[in-house]
Amino acid sequence: MISKVLIANRGEIALRIIAACREAGVATVAVHSEADRDSLHVRMADDSVCIGPAYANASYLNITAVIAAAEISGADAIHPGYGFLAENAHFAEIVQECGLVWIGPPPEAIRAMGDKANARRTVSARGVPVLPGSSEPLSSRDDAVALAEEIGYPVILKASAGGGGRGMRVARDVRELRHVFETARSEAEKAFGVGDVYLEKYLTSPRHIEVQVMADGKGRVLAVGERECSIQRRHQKLIEEAPSPVVDAELRERMCTAATDAAAAVGYVSAGTVEFLYDRGEFYFMEMNTRIQVEHPVTEWVTGMDLVMEQLRIANGNALSIRKRPRIVGHAIEFRINAEDPDTFAPSPGEITELALPFGPGVRVDTHIYRGYRIPPYYDSLIAKLIVHGADRRAAIDRARGALRMFLIGGVRTSIALHQRILEEADFLEGNLSTSFMDRFGARE
């Protein structure tokens, strides 16, 4: 049994995990950089260890420091949260080799899904739909051009080692493809240390719909429902909701089956998310995120599950608490509140001089900020997540309007105003979403 969990993360997700551990009666260890000394996760955990300077490479991404912190604090398990080391198979292996429990998927599953070209090939072999494209890394520019001619432009070049929107180049015709091919390879080489790229048909205005999967390693792989995350800016999600306004019972069945097939293909265990692109009635596997996600609360709200608690249960060797896909109740929407200028999107670090949090029925706020907290400039700009729930999408939107009005953050610029503007958009209200929604939104400003 796990008795003390080290949380290899910071911010709201560290607090979210601490809350679940406390509820489960498990002690917690916070690790932090010098810049996060006054962070709430440090204060809320039972123990804390400073593991390095502000720069994440030397602290939150420093495997030796995290393991040493687990050793000196007597932790027997590590929860990686999201980002940082969460999808680092090498780290997961070291955690296990050190005799610690890794609260996440098997390292082999992380590795299999981390190589995007391999993931595409693996799930495709199980009958999961993928976009037309290459199943192997492309060896030459001519191969890329030949394939693009076959499937039709536009096409997108993706780094095998990329993901999360990084390492991608779009080509609209043969001239562009010839031009970007080598650039994409050298970018991939520089960013990920591996120059392999593969090619797919590019959808100009798809919807991003993902399926939350939970697997307990005892043969139970459950898809617990979808989320729509089409409202994105530069591939960064801004608003996520469950259920998707475009998914009906028949489509949900097909997507959930595809998601569990994809997870089962790599022997998945713990919480994970299979991301799909949806276009004109069809959906295509994009990638699998082998970790808990930022937007997990919307699924929690419509299913009544506590996904972090399920992760703890699974890591302890227990079966999932549910046997079949839960019933979806109502509609939940999450708004990511970033410390950034709502017009220019420039980061806005600084001190929180004033803070009032929204509350009331159907309102949840996951955050690590407090009055007097200084947002350090070194990390992600996410400072809070507002999650609302209503009987249906319309009710959830109405509730969101009220909650955003009640959400006061002084001292830094935030994306609250941007969310308020999005909630006035006819397309958003009607559920006409796509990943290019924010482009049009920006152009209209």
Partner: protein
Amino acid sequence: MFTFAELCELIRIVSETRVGGLEVERDGMRVHIDGVPAAPVLEARGGAPLLPPQLAVPGQLSGNPIALPGGASAPAPAAPATPAEEEGLSFVTSPIVGTFYVAPSPDSEPYVKPGDHVSKGQVLCIVEAMKLMNEIEADVSGVVVRRYPENAQPVEFGERLFAVRAT
């Protein structure tokens, strides 16, 4: 060992009396609490102070690093000490999180003892992380005034290991 409640009580006393600091020793464990006079107190949402006086428990972690609820984690390497005490001192801090050792092996003599003269670049101690022994060197020449952690004690990144008076 001090109980958790006792530590909280000590902090409360330092905080309320606004004395410069307090040092208590019992059963080989020494707790040092620095008071921060007129430090700005941040209000929690409930109105309770979030930050008590800065805590310093130099080199006195027992089995686990100590994090006091509602407070800064201990030790606070940057904890301000009285200027008179620190004048002319140079502090060697731990570049990594790990376990502190005074000697290369349990049977060996310590690399240095308080009072020893050390030269820049001389090995002062070892901090072990993931079975790797990292030798920590003096960054100035001078006399070792103080060693903070006990042998085999866990140290955090940035924690003070030695005070050296440069010569």
